[in-house]
Symmetry: D2
Subunit: 342 residues, 4 copies
């Protein structure tokens, strides 16, 4: 059998571990061949590929990034290019395609699957916002890095009686902010799912200092926004892929807080460091298991599906279900942070 | 309401995070008081305690170890001491006791519960062998540390054409070995659940070097044992708490391999470094959520239960079920490692 | 004998380790007492202090920040307050004062010393720009953190064919940029000591992509500036303490590069994470030795001096010399980076 | 010009960074060629080599181990093989040889140099025991790893009222023990330079527990030994390369302490994890500068020398001086630990 593999969307620790797992499972266990397509869907559209054997994936388990490259393609280009993609797959004799990616990539995978191409998807998102799976690889690494950095900021804030706002990834879903906030003992966690009331934030900050606390650490998801009318706010807008643009919410909130509380406020944007480098052991295991089970599903003829973590097991869920909605932070999970706020 | 809390058994990253979470949830959310008993069940037997308020748990989230201390008590002493323990609880006006611990602690908790004491247990085990919960805190930290150290050993083994055996924790269950082996790209993973055939290990080592590979890394759970008759082996025996004693399996296997393959073999025992220090962000979140939900269950009258992770949710399972059997590595999970072996 | 200690200026990993070392050396070795003044020179001006014994510094070795607090005071306030400071010292019966701080703090220490107060200074600067000592604690930690984060950015830049500019600390001296750039394999290092020619940067970026390299990582000290006339540049100005203000050089250069090379460019500002958290082992040893030798010098009557690392030894240098000039990156050290550029 | 390079002796983080630096400096700066000899001196004896260009060393900066391999050769074989080695060098047209290694490798380099071969040595030793240089790369990484692991052990020892002995590298010199002991706040540091008095160790342990301290951490260099007559001790003997064999001093001392103090004592042997994996930023900078300056010296005709760190500068010292004696821990440096002991 011949398997095609590609990685789409933004960078995510664990992508290389998935590629290695697909190649080893296909090669060692099934005696199948694997072709990697370069730069996501573009590799299919432009017929750029590379054969991947066990030697080619040596050392990939621990390496960040994706050895296949990745690039974003606008949805309409993908829709228009289905015939070219199919032609590329036919030319290489690909029996099943395994696209690894986020919402955009999996939606494209679903469209291809509906068009009759055998596909098994692997969910990938730093933000953990893909539905149908408990978790995705990359998320644990992102939370770990954010937590480690916030741990470092605590002491600085403490020594100088400051408010420190840390902007983490999460345009549409606040999972990273939620987990890093809990893990690092933040006094305030702001997520896209619940617009924040600036008056309440001001009150919380003032109360902490009033009762003698030395500092305030707030974790702010990049997609968090104020309740309309509570502060002036410049939104970031929407880009060509339907993604929210950078608004600099932590910076904007920081200036507002400094003005209204009289305290020194600093905003730190963690940015791309959350997406790079070697994955945590958790993400390496998850990525490896995803690759293994997707390759098994490919060989057993379970197409149009996506691998998913459910409890401790890897299961299959229909692509249609995975892309139907974004998995956002629930009110119950947000409520959990209350006892640790302020 | 007055809540009692104690930590039993061996050290585990996240214990302090649980204590903090119980105290903050009780204090901030319910306005309840918390009393900590010192050195596990001994604190109840000997009436040694300390009040815990929000200020007392400041900074505990990131700190390893347990601020309450821990000690092992032989099961028969616990059974004989139920009346003393109850007397201590009554004297302090404890409404619900929250013991945090492993199999031994939860078994004692179950006995107390059967004897009418309101109890909500919190599972704790580095080894991840408590049934009824997907995972326990401390496990991710232990796997992370083991993985990081095995990452380091790869390059040393590579440069010197060596076999390196790394002995990790896991007397009765091989979860740490399984996960660290997958995460660190071990060529061999040995667990207690499946006695290993030394002849096969010898063959795997010889095959790797024969085809030009530079080194072999094996991860060996401390409770792994050879198939009877395949090599001379000194077992470690069983201690007074029913735990298997240290056998030095990696060292013994290493000597056998060196003799039979002619290759340089080194055994490294990771030991207590797997149990100490600051928890990973994953374990901090899990420990915090366990503490929160156990305290909520205590206030809502759900006794005789243990908090458990099921998928992404924290649920309650009867203590009786949690202690009925050990959760060991399944054949299916072991089979997953095959594509990555050799 | 009674020793006074205070920490001035910005946060720096190792401050607490120095405090612990001073207290342990004074207490255990000399049987002397130590008084800590709060929030830097303000503690002397406003007579706010706390006694420090061995128990009080337990656990400080590994903790970031400063348990004494720190605050900046404008130079003219210090000069005007010499009598108040002397009165505070007399009131507490302080025989020798050990101020721990950077250029500003040591200049004030020098002024006090000239005014007859027995003083032994301890140099502290993340930026490593104090003259007379090979290194200062905090610098190694800052370089380590920056390096670790740049390591992570490499894979992200690689997968997406990007230029990533990383802005690190260093307003007047480029030591962090120089070392982190060497350690992390940056393709470009920009420091305050040598204004950069934007045309050359553009050429370097274009050449790398032209010959097939996957990405460009540039490390930019926050005080780096373009050669006048090579690009539009908004300077940050100078604050009330004589420090250069934030100019956002990486962001400004990034926009210029994106415009002129057509490549995707991202700027990351590491910010305060470089100053916080547990010190590296190198900085813990250096901080501990500084504290030990300063306390010894205090007891042996060597006043008006600063401890300094010279090779492997801790020596004393006159405060007058230490504050005479800033230690900046030499042309020879900059030349060393050439073989690793581009 | 043609440069030969080889790595001898045990593994050491930074070896690959040196190789990369030599190749980049030779190639980019001087337009020279570099040939790598495999497995240390064996590569010269057996004429096994590989050309190294800039592409070949891509990515080596951060990678542990040595891409050239390393092997130990008994001194008499080296002496007997000088003609073969010279023949290999002539055959490849090597103008200058740059051997990277410890005492054994540098001694061989000195012999070759005396025999008329142009040689520039680069010192390498985890143990930091090469004379003539302030520090060697690999040492900082080893101390960092040991410190990080001892940090983890503190909390475990604390929670269980234990004595934990940590055996670190250092057969003839106690630098790692000294630095890791200072950095991690050990209560006891034992080095090869000063035989320890078991009675004093017993006293220190008992005193700590008597005054209510929760635990004792001791750092023990693998070459530490008891004062004759103070306890039964099995020495490890000397191997064919003149190196002391493993004695298991921590384990032996641990058993003695447990017997005499009645406290629970655990010994942990850190072993090879101290030698592997990615180097710290400090070691990457030092390794890179060593490679750069050795290559420059090779091109400028400064032979028979070794590069050395002196203060902040890289200088040249005669090989003869570097191998004349081992650099061991001085009484003054040992005395520094006293204020932090017990």
């Amino acid at each position: 059998m011949r398997i095609g593999v590609l990685t789409g969307g933004g960078d995510c620790p664990g992508l290389n571990a998935v590629i290695r797992s697909v190649v080893r499972t296909a090669g060692v266990h099934y005696g199948s061949e694997v072709i990697g397509f370069r730069d996501g869907w573009r590799g299919l559209l432009e017929n750029r590929s590379t054969p991947l054997d066990v030697a080619a994936v040596d050392g990939l388990l621990t390496r960040g990034g994706t050895t296949l490259g990745s690039a974003r393609v606008a949805p309409e280009k993908l829709h228009a290019g289905i015939d070219e993609m199919r032609a590329t797959l036919d030319q290489h004799g690909i029996d099943v395609l395994i696209p690894i990616g986020g919402e955009g990539t999996l939606t494209a995978a679903h469209v291809l699957s509906e068009a009759g191409v055998p596909v098994v998807g692997i969910p990938k998102t730093i933000d953990n916002d893909i539905d149908g799976t408990d978790l995705t690889f990359g998320f644990d690494t992102a939370v770990s890095i954010a937590t480690e950095l916030i741990d470092r900021l605590h002491t600085t804030a403490e020594s100088h009686q400051r408010v420190l706002l840390v902007e983490v990834m999460g345009r549409h879903a606040g999972w990273i902010a939620l987990h890093a906030g809990l893990a690092a003992g933040a006094h305030l966690t702001l997520v896209p799912e619940e617009p924040f009331d600036v008056d309440e934030v001001v009150r919380l900050v003032c109360e902490r200092f009033a009762r003698g606390d030395s500092h305030v650490i707030g974790v702010v998801a990049e997609g968090a926004m104020p309740l309309p009318g509570t502060m002036a706010f410049r939104e970031g807008g929407i880009d060509e892929f339907g993604h929210r643009r950078f608004s600099g919410v932590a910076q904007q909130l920081g200036e507002e807080l400094e003005r209204r509380t009289g305290k020194e406020v600093r905003a730190t944007v963690l940015g791309h460091v959350q997406r790079g480098g070697t994955p945590t052991s958790f993400d390496r295991v998850l990525a490896t298991r995803f690759g293994l089970h997707a390759t098994t599903a490919a060989h057993e003829g379970h197409h149009g599906q996506m691998v998913a973590l459910r409890g401790t097991e890897i299961e299959l869920v229909p692509l249609a279900r995975a892309v139907a909605r974004l998995k956002t932070v629930t009110p119950a999970r947000l409520a959990e942070t209350r006892a640790f706020t302020g």
